[in-house]
Amino acid sequence: MPHDAEHHDHHHEDQEPPSDMTLRVKALESLLVEKGLVDPAALDVIIETYVHDVGPRNGARVVAHAWSDPAYRARLLTDATAAIAELGYGGRQGEHMVAVENTPEVHNLVVCTLCSCYPWPVLGLPPTWYKSAPYRSRAVIDPRGVLAEFGLALGEDVEIRVWDSTAEIRYLVLPERPAGTEGLDEAALAEMVSRDSMIGVAKAANR
């Protein structure tokens, strides 16, 4: 696709790093390894874990379970940390979790204006746009404008709740269950839960 071929020429707010970053980080790593300050095996485990084990599929399972089990949904909304731990998820950058529920009347949107706080155990590492100046600056003052850039238009009567996660409390949006999904099992429901729907810039969709 031509679009893909041009992809790396697109201008992003966070500009492409200078080519010498590869060399700078490599030099730093060699130095730290040689001095015995880091173990390369630990580095590999950290990277492999975030590539393979921790990501938005975890959060999708939490959401699908909450859609399927009203008692679990209630626990998730009361004590999200414990409810998420029930499914085996927890740890770094998600030690204290709060879940907020989208309804026809209320739409929730998560941002970190000061840096990049994000619930790693359920969503993995944040996408670049989440960490970027345009999103961080505007989500709190113009959430409807930001949502429009994601193609999400909400009715005028919908209350918007923005969660600026500046502390160590991390927020997960529980999106609305799509219509026409009655009788589907949790695995099928989880397929409808995108990362973006759990940040609040999209709805879960019956694809």
């Binding site: 970053m21 095996a41 505007r138």
Partner: protein, 219 residues
């Protein structure tokens, strides 16, 4: 500190640019920068808040120009240098000073898994009674700390309502500069959109911010 990192409410920083099928890392060095940052934290020569503050200390024009993991890399180099784990000469030459002893890393592969999945967090015990209760009207203080703080500028001086009590948490303002965890009560505070942005704001709703007790006063 009133740095460019505190960007809530600013305009002119461009459109949000979601990237379809974005890769987890855009280059291998980004993954190494992430892993180096997490692995060196095991030396406990700095804490999470100090690490965040180091990135905030990157001069504003550079901060805005740099990519995310560039900021992480430069923040890490600054921490390593300031704490004496490496020298600028070593980084420039890429060779360890022969006079430094070879250490044993505190984090091996097993410790890395424990670091990712282990129980940590910032909730602490405290005997101090809560100064506020859910439902209380509060005002974010009009303060401008010179160091690390989690009170965004756009909320200062604004009225809100306590919506949740998260309990006592490590206080970043003292923890970042190494003055101790000094746990303080952390509250979720709801600020109405028109209180933050004026009556012409154009949307109905609110911004919730988690704020420590020293940031708040009764309203």
């Amino acid at each position: 500190m009133n740095g460019v990192h505190d960007m809530g409410g600013m305009a002119g920083l461009g459109p949000v640019a979601p990237e379809p099928d974005e890769p987890l890392f855009h280059a291998p060095w980004e993954a190494r920068a992430l892993a180096l940052t997490l692995a060196t934290a095991a030396w406990r020569r700095w804490n999470l808040d100090a690490s965040r503050h180091e990135r905030e200390l990157i001069p504003g024009p550079d901060y805005l120009r740099m990519s995310y993991y560039e900021r992480w890399t430069e923040g890490l180099i600054a921490l390593l240098t300031k704490r004496g784990l490496i020298t600028a000469e070593e980084l420039a030459s890429g060779r360890p000073d022969p006079d430094t002893l070879k250490a044993t890393p505190p984090m091996d592969a097993e410790a890395a898994r424990a670091m990712i999945f282990g129980v940590g967090g910032t909730l602490r015990a405290s005997d101090a009674p809560p100064g506020f209760a859910v439902g209380d009207q509060v005002r974010a203080r009009n303060i401008h700390p010179a160091g690390h703080t989690r009170l965004p500028r756009y909320a200062r001086g604004r009225r809100g309502q306590i919506t949740r009590d998260h309990g006592p948490h490590v206080f970043p303002d003292t923890n970042a500069p190494g003055k101790g965890e000094q746990p303080k009560r952390l509250y979720q505070v709801r600020f109405e959109a028109d209180e933050l942005w004026g009556e012409a704001v154009g949307w109905r709703g609110a911004v919730h911010i988690d704020l420590w007790e020293p940031y708040l006063e009764p309203a």
